[in-house]
């Protein structure tokens, strides 16, 4: 196995329970997003564009669904014979197995995996963020500053700061304080959950933390504060650009809808940084003779015979004649049958809206107030006129 300068470890373990029925069958990173992507595509594409060829994906879940999505990583140019994408579920020893205790424990349990590549640096990523980023620039800064740890950070609105890990730096960018979800934040610089560590240092820190009774084995709560206390050189890397945590139903809906803006924060059209995805090879979308399409994102393989507006329509969706879809996100292979209505809703993969059915609330004044209607994967909305 050749020695690597760096490898990435992607924490994809989040149960995604705040995303409700959408993540009942699918791990959060594999949830569809933006018409043709899945959430994990963004991190993996970033790795690919940053010339990282080895990625370990840490997941608590039965890995085969993620396995079958990621395959051999060829969608992201990560199918190299001496690197590649490896899914790392918790391991069962002779004494049985247990779930990862925390983000740091997940890395700790896979020290052997990382050691086998003898990397100089390890990049730690989260699997449920939407953003385009070149990690190479962060590594360059990490090296230039002679940092032990570099934490990628972004300015957030002050009123939201207490939801994040908040970083306070000196004028050189060196981190002097790190507070996980502080009640009274003294900075609005939030950690994005993206870290570069010297591997040697991280390994020692993980071993020390693992031995500490009472530790939650978490990067933000335990590892970073411990290293700060020890006087290690932690630096902040200021990220400029679009970044969104899509961990809740509202933020997921919002992030999708933002793509419909005339100038979306997230640029999917950047030729230098395409977002890769594993998608079946489907024919172009067909827009029928009586269709109306207004302010929508529509993916390949769709057949649109009805009316759609202000919506994100994913791969392989069918909208029958007379059907109407507004302010909604239709996940792959949703079928909306004749004269059905979908308002401010998210439909799971392969969901079916039967003829004349209504999903969501029709009245325009109600829509803003109402919560988002969600239909699970393969669910059928039908029979009665209201879902």
């Amino acid at each position: 196995m050749p020695k690597k300068e760096w490898i990435a470890m992607l924490l994809a373990g989040g149960q995604g329970s705040r995303l409700g029925v959408l993540t009942r069958h699918i791990a959060k990173p594999a949830l569809a997003f933006g018409g043709k992507y899945r959430i994990i595509d963004f991190s993996l594409s970033n790795c690919s564009h940053s010339h990282i060829d080895t990625v370990g994906i840490l997941t608590q879940y039965k890995p085969f669904l993620l396995n079958s999505y990621i395959g051999i990583g060829s969608a992201w140019d990560l199918d190299t014979s001496d690197g590649g994408v490896h899914i790392l579920p918790p391991f069962v020893g002779e004494q049985g197995g247990r779930w990862y205790k925390g983000t740091a424990n997940a890395i700790y349990e896979n020290i052997d995996f990382i050691n086998s590549y003898e990397p100089e640096f390890v990049l730690i990523l989260s699997g449920d963020h939407i953003y385009n980023m070149n990690y190479e620039k962060m590594l360059d800064e990490h090296k230039a500053k002679g940092a032990d740890v570099t934490v990628s950070a972004i300015q957030v609105p002050w009123e939201e700061a207490s939801r994040f890990g908040i970083i306070t730096t000196d004028p050189e960018g060196r981190i002097i304080k790190f507070s996980e979800k502080p009640v009274k934040p003294d900075s609005n610089l939030a950690s994005m959950g993206i870290y570069i560590f010297k591997w040697k240092l991280l390994k020692e820190a993980l071993q020390k933390d693992e031995a500490r009774p009472g530790s939650e084995n978490d990067f933000g709560k335990n590892i970073l504060p411990m290293l700060l206390e020890e006087g290690k050189r932690l630096f902040s890397y200021d990220f400029q650009g679009y970044w969104k945590d899509v961990g809740t139903l509202e933020s997921y809906y919002e992030a999708n809808m933002e793509l419909l803006h005339e100038e979306p924060g997230l640029n999917l059209y950047d030729r230098e940084h395409p977002v890769y995805s594993t998608i079946p090879i489907l024919p172009p979308q067909y827009i029928g003779p009586n269709a109306k399409v207004s302010n929508c994102l529509v993916a390949n393989g769709c057949t649109i015979l009805g009316e759609i507006s202000n919506s994100v329509i994913s791969t392989g969706v069918t909208i029958a004649e007379g059907a109407k879809v507004e302010h909604s996100i239709l996940l792959p292979y949703t079928t909306v049958l004749e004269d059905a209505r979908v308002y401010r809703a998210i439909t799971g993969e392969k969901a079916v809206i039967k003829p004349h059915c209504i999903l969501g609330t029709e009245s325009r004044s109600d829509q803003r107030k109402s919560s988002i209607a969600v239909l699970a994967d393969r669910a059928v909305c039908g029979g009665s006129r209201h879902a």
Binding site: S74, P284, P289, N290, S294, I313
Partner: protein
């Protein structure tokens, strides 16, 4: 499936679709929004379980090689077999022969010699078809034919030249070949430029005709028609042949018919093509799109009807595109009106330009045309 290898000739193109391709070989002509003509022949072979396909290159090799890449999309990025790139014979920029040049095969006898496969499928790239090659192969074996010619039974819509066609008995055995000039309404078995043959027999034919290298392979079959057991296999479904700009346009517009889309693209046999990572297509608030096939990565603010848009096409507000084919990365600027026009890739149509062709005589705009 028994061991079978494929050969696809891209060194080919009678009545070259003038203007459409800027010297692209027919194999690399874009079709139906995201495919290239080569995809049909290649997918049909791969879907029949063929794992080694030789591609005979045209004189302009880049468009074909760029499209194929490492062959991953067709599951041909293999250690053993997979895509085997073969050199085509030099035959000028616009090869005139309508078929397989014997010389193209002669040049690549080592590919045929160094393989243990029992059968070879030969095809060119002039047809839009999704067919089950296994059926043809099973018939070939069952009937003990020397050669199976893949044909399509068509009713001539008008008086037409069909070139060399096979005359068969009732069960499909070929009696002889003749130049056909069919009358309207007459049924004709049109050769689909696809053959199944034993590898050894193909080698015998190649070696036996060393001196008439510029001959078409069909001509050779005509010579031997009486000695070889040649049978036809008729393609049951949709079959679209492209041999001119006008037939290219007709076949393209047929793709707007849902029943043809269904048959070609939504059955159990997928047409595979190169994946380019483009975002979904964005329709602006005032766009108006009807009866059109639209590929990914487009940006539509204007009016589009009865048209085919390839990847990355931009239709600005106020532009009208009617009965057109707009290829990759074209921009149709505000106020421009296009009707019955093919715009080839990377072209930009300036604001308020009006270009109208006739349905039976489409216009072709190229990037360098300066409109």
């Amino acid at each position: 499936m028994e061991k079978m290898i494929g050969i696809i000739s891209c060194n080919y193109g009678l009545e070259y679709p003038e203007g459409i391709g800027e010297r692209r070989p027919l194999a690399a002509i874009p079709f139906a929004g995201r495919y290239q003509m080569l995809d049909f022949a290649l997918s049909n072979m791969v879907n029949a379980g063929i794992r080694t396909v030789g591609i005979i290159l045209p004189s302009n090799i880049r468009p074909v090689l760029d499209h194929l890449g490492a062959g991953k999309e067709w599951k041909l990025g293999r250690k053993e077999g997979g895509l085997v790139i073969l050199q085509g014979s030099d035959s000028g920029i616009f090869p005139r022969s309508n078929g397989f040049l014997l010389r193209d095969l002669q040049k690549n006898t080592d590919y045929l010699e160094n393989n243990a496969a029992e059968y070879v499928v030969l095809s060119n790239c002039s047809n839009v078809v999704n067919m089950d090659c296994r059926q043809a192969f099973l018939q070939h074996k069952k009937d003990g034919a020397d050669i199976t010619l893949i044909v399509k039974e068509l009713i001539a819509e008008q008086e037409d030249e069909f070139g060399l066609i096979a005359v068969t008995d009732r069960s499909g055995w070929v009696l002889n070949f003749e130049q056909a000039k069919a009358k309207s309404g007459q049924s004709v078995q049109r050769f689909a430029n696809m053959i199944i043959i034993k590898r050894r027999l193909l080698l015998d034919i190649i070696h036996g005709h060393k001196n008439i290298e510029y001959e078409d392979f069909m001509e050779i079959l005509r010579i031997h028609a009486s000695k070889l057991k040649i049978k036809t296999f008729s393609i049951p479904g949709y079959f679209g042949r492209i041999d001119s700009k006008q037939t290219y346009f007709q076949r393209s517009m047929e793709m707007l018919r849902p029943e043809i889309q269904k048959e070609l693209f939504w059955g159990s046999r997928q047409i595979l093509t190169r994946v380019r990572d483009r975002p979904p297509t964005k329709y602006g608030p005032i766009s108006s799109v009807h009866d059109s096939l639209v590929s990914s990565g487009c940006l539509i603010h204007g009016t589009v009807s009865q048209s085919i848009l390839f990847r990355g096409a931009v239709i600005e507000a106020g532009a009208q595109v009617i009965n057109c084919i707009i290829m990759k990365n074209c921009r149709i600027s505000r106020g421009a009106i296009l009707e019955n026009v093919i715009v080839t890739k990377n072209a930009m149509v300036h604001p308020d330009t009006v270009i109208k062709g006739r349905p039976d005589h489409v216009m072709v705009l190229n990037r360098d045309d300066g409109f």
